[in-house]
């Protein structure tokens, strides 16, 4: 495991505060996971609620260490914008994947797993598995 090959994580929310807080939460709960590159992409460029393709592309580029980038989203336009960018072909780093996972729990699972040096498929699987943790 070497730091420069860690999987990058991008957290896309309609709200800048939600995206950056979940990023801080996931990194905090990961403990030794602080080496994992995590970038929030929340809200619109103007600071409002919504989704910005440009913030997402910039966040993905900033966490790309060559081991792939896992993108987690909240809902609606966040999901659709990432899908549209992936379909575009050249807007996101190679090896970028939209991960189907609950936003908060999935982010924690993804960052913790990435901190072990796991590959993108393992990070994706861990985040998706967070759907199965029932609370009641």
């Amino acid at each position: 495991m070497s730091d420069e090959r860690l999987v990058g994580i991008v957290l896309v929310s309609h709200s800048a505060e939600v995206a950056s807080s979940v990023a801080a939460l996931a990194k905090g709960l990961a403990g030794g996971g602080t080496a994992v590159p995590v970038a929030p992409a929340g809200g619109t460029e103007g600071g409002g609620l919504g989704t910005s393709a440009e913030l997402i592309a910039a966040a993905a580029a900033s966490v790309d260490r060559g081991a792939g980038v896992a993108v987690l989203t909240d809902l609606g336009s966040a999901v659709l914008t990432v899908k549209a960018l992936l379909a575009e072909g050249d807007e996101l780093p190679e090896g970028t994947r939209l991960v189907d996972a609950p936003f908060v729990e999935g982010a924690v699972a993804a960052v913790v797993t990435a901190s072990t040096g796991a590959d993108l498929a393992a990070v994706e699987a861990a985040a998706a598995e967070a759907y199965t943790y029932r609370k009641v």
């Binding site: 619109t44 409002g48 609620l49 919504g50 989704t51 910005s52 393709a53 440009e54 609606g76 336009s77 659709l80 914008t81 899908k83 549209a84 960018l85 379909a87 575009e88």
Partner: protein
């Protein structure tokens, strides 16, 4: 035959129409959505118009592809990736031909509409933009005016439907009785196409 200039006129007419109707789109989006459809589309189509003014592409496909990319980049709501995918995919289907026929445009739009359905997971009857676009594309073989009428009819026909996709689906039965904002703006897009064609 339709050249790049025709497609630029279509996009410019759409931007003007969205400007005129922005308040109505946002009003429709208030009871069942998050009241930003008009302003989101205005931002998007202003960006489209500015990009086409600055570096006008020389082909119909180039115009639609650039317009689609700008919508994805600037709208900030779900209509950005949806309309962006519609236009970009249609633009790619037109390739780099300098002129295209109305039949080729209809076929390209059909490809675009299918891409939107795949992206958003919506089918006809879900109370979305698809309910205006599918009948419009079907009628395009007849004339641009027929496509405009079909889109308008499709938009009006969303009123009694219950939303099954997007933000409006959260309000469940309360979405019944409201015309869908996305179907309404789709009808504006098709009306602008007829306007560009002089019909």
């Amino acid at each position: 035959m339709l050249d790049a200039d025709f497609f630029r006129r279509w996009m410019t007419a759409t931007a003007a129409s969205v400007d005129r109707e922005a308040e109505r789109l946002t009003a429709l989006d208030s009871p069942i959505g998050d009241a930003d459809h008009g302003s989101n589309l205005q931002r998007g189509f202003h960006a489209v118009r500015d990009a086409l003014d600055k570096e006008p592409p020389g082909t119909p496909g180039g115009v639609l592809t650039l317009a689609g990319r700008r919508l994805i980049a600037t709208v900030g709501g779900a209509s950005g990736p949806l309309y962006g995918t519609l236009l970009r995919r249609a633009g790619k289907a037109l390739g780099d031909a300098a002129e295209v026929s109305a039949e080729q445009l209809a076929e390209a739009l059909r490809t675009g509409v299918h891409a939107v359905m795949t992206l958003g997971g919506a089918a006809p009857g879900d109370k979305t933009m698809i309910d205006a676009l599918v009948p419009a594309v079907d009628a395009l073989g007849e004339s641009f005016a027929a496509a405009r009428a079909a889109a308008e009819e499709g938009a009006v026909a969303t009123t009694p439907l219950q939303a099954r996709k997007g933000r409006a689906s959260y309000v469940g039965e309360r979405s019944i009785g409201h015309q869908d904002p996305g179907a309404t703006s789709s009808a504006l897009l098709i009306a602008a196409l007829a306007e560009a064609a002089g019909e």
